[in-house]
């Protein structure tokens, strides 16, 4: 294992200290561990996310103006614990409540729900909204459901902008839920990755093998197959996304009136011709930007053939799996409100959106 690290058990804290040193506008707490904005305005809904580390820039890199107010990193690929989210929520709440954006992994869900209950006992208004966009997981009903992957980045940007614009907690939650019901992702891994504490690769791929439908932790995908050209791989991913049927599942959310958990049915309808999208072509950590543009070229061509329009795009490494080679494609069926919020100003270590006055053509080349 060759990595720029010291003792493997110090990796997460040392990297956070580096992030805080590079970005003095962020506040870092190490016990319990969270990163938050220093300049959260009174009366603004706080948006908080978190999960295992190793997915940089997600989530800590998205703390800042117009995105997250706080992020709670666990150990690498391991859920954070409820005390982190609880202390973070107390720190960032400005009286308008806290929205937790939670990727659908049992550990994340249970830890966030527990912290939401602790917050509630303290009189902090909270809501948990799930992201479960990974179409590689089939038969959601018999498993813990689809995993949360690339759509999380888009949700954090759009919902963060909404909170910055003064949306209420309920409105932020509704928007986030709507984003989740309109997003789908699919990924492919060309190589595995090494968790520093484990010291060896999490799964093995032969030189000419790839894993189609990988999550963000090297979980088993849909199919292991031989390597192919970028055009073929992108076609496969896009086919999975467009042929994905209606997906119905139940999520647990907090009833805002009673403060009790209630089950909410979520439905994602298939994508079809004529619809508009915000898309993300994402690198897994070990894929050069050029290859991602190679992916985008084919992807945009296929979208054209399918008669759907890409309103906005993002191409780069935004939710990674350490040094894994590979990429994922995320498509969010976007309405005007989402696009407007997408364009809003954001200033974070991992994602910067200039204000609309500064620039008119950033990532909007295909628009209208």
């Amino acid at each position: 294992m060759k990595k720029l690290i010291n003792n493997p058990s110090d990796v997460v804290n040392e990297q956070l200290l580096g992030l805080a040193a590079a970005h003095p506008e962020l506040h870092l707490s190490l016990a319990p561990r969270y990163v938050c904005r220093k300049d959260i305005p009174q009366g603004k809904v706080a948006v908080v996310s978190g999960g295992g580390s190793g997915h940089d820039p997600l989530h800590c890199g998205y703390v800042g103006f117009g995105m997250l107010d706080g992020a709670c990193p666990g150990e690498i690929f391991t859920s954070p614990t409820p005390d982190q989210m609880y202390e973070c929520a107390k720190h960032v709440d400005r009286g308008a409540g806290v929205l937790f954006i939670v990727k659908n992994y049992t550990g994340d869900v249970l830890n966030f729900e527990t912290s939401a209950e602790l917050c509630k006992m303290d009189g902090i208004q909270v809501q948990c909204i799930l992201i479960d966009d990974d179409v590689a997981v089939k038969g959601g009903g018999h498993t813990s459901g689809r995993r949360g992957v690339g759509l999380t980045v888009l949700a954090e940007k759009i919902v963060g902008a909404a909170a910055q614009a003064g949306y209420s907690l309920g409105a932020c939650a509704d928007l986030c839920r709507r984003i989740n019901q309109n997003g789908r992702s699919m990924g492919v891994a060309l190589s595995s990755c090494i968790i520093p504490e484990a010291g060896e690769t999490t799964f093995l791929l032969d030189n000419d093998e790839i894993e189609l439908g990988i999550g963000i932790h090297g979980e088993q995908g849909v199919e292991r197959r031989c390597m192919a050209s970028v055009d073929i791989l992108v076609e496969l991913m896009v086919e999975h996304i467009f042929s994905d049927p209606e997906y119905v599942r139940v999520a647990r959310e907090m009833n805002s009136a009673s403060g009790e958990w209630e089950d909410v049915q979520l439905v994602s309808t298939p994508f079809s011709r004529g619809e508009s999208f915000i898309v993300l072509v994402n690198g897994m950590g070990g894929t050069p930007p050029g290859e991602l543009y190679g992916v985008y070229r084919k992807f945009a061509e296929l979208c054209d053939e399918k008669g759907v329009s890409i309103k906005r795009n993002l191409v780069g490494t935004y939710i990674s799996s350490l040094e894994m080679q590979g990429c994922s494609i995320t498509m969010l069926r976007a309405d005007d409100e989402m696009v407007r919020l997408w364009d809003a100003r954001a200033v974070t270590p991992g994602l910067c959106f200039p204000s609309c006055d500064d620039v008119t053509s950033c990532g909007t080349s295909n628009a209208d």
Binding site: T78, E219, Q220
Partner: protein
């Protein structure tokens, strides 16, 4: 009777068991999960063992609450909030008692496991730790009705726990990470069921002494 002293010994023995079986739990989780269950449990119960001196000065209810919070904040993964909830919900039934009789212990576990089930949204046969707790609680109730001695009840519960743990082997996982493996989860013992067995066994040993 389960006294404060028994509870502290229970925690100490649990920590020993998690340390001793760390590798076994790791391997079970590596087979159908992500391999961190041994590390998680050892980290959490190791921390709990360090807290024992502080807990000596607490009331019984505070001890259980504190244990719940320690597990909640140190175990991590899916099992952290599940074990944490078990102790926190159990603690709520203790009130001002300084020791629990056999029937109060059942009340404790009934509430704790109810909390675990609500948190995990799990049912029997999902191949989780609940597949140990459910038969253990049934066994406990039967033994209590038969007016058995506390230590005998616990001995019977250890047997029920072992049966429950082994019964997870042929099950198809429907909760947690293992559920993504589908059919391939069959033939492996559930790691959380195994750590639950060690917890129940440690309780028995703390009373037997």
């Amino acid at each position: 009777m389960l006294t404060k002293k028994n509870v502290l010994i229970w925690f100490e023995k649990s920590a020993d068991a998690m340390a001793e079986h760390k590798q076994e739990l790791h391997l079970l989780d590596a087979a159908i999960g992500d391999g961190d269950h041994g590390i998680n449990m050892n980290r959490g119960f190791g921390k709990l063992a360090l807290e024992l001196p502080v807990m000596g000065a607490m009331t019984l209810q505070e001890i259980f609450k504190h244990a719940g919070m320690v597990l909640l904040s140190t175990v991590g993964g899916a099992s952290g909030p599940l074990y944490g909830t078990l102790f926190l919900k159990g603690a709520a039934t203790v009130g001002t008692s300084e020791a629990l009789d056999a029937s109060a212990v059942l009340t404790f576990f009934d509430a704790g496991v109810e909390g675990l089930v609500a948190r995990g949204r799990t049912e029997e046969n999902d191949k989780t730790m609940y597949d140990v707790w459910a038969p253990v609680l049934r066994e406990y109730e039967l033994c209590l009705e038969a007016e058995m001695e506390f230590v005998e009840i616990l001995a019977a519960c250890v047997c029920a726990a072992e049966v429950g743990m082994k019964a997870t082997i042929p099950m198809l996982a429907r909760k947690g990470r293992a559920s993504y493996l589908g059919e391939r989860s069959i033939g492996h013992q559930d790691p959380g069921a195994t750590s639950s067995y060690y917890l129940i066994n440690a309780l028995y040993e703390s009373i037997r002494e």
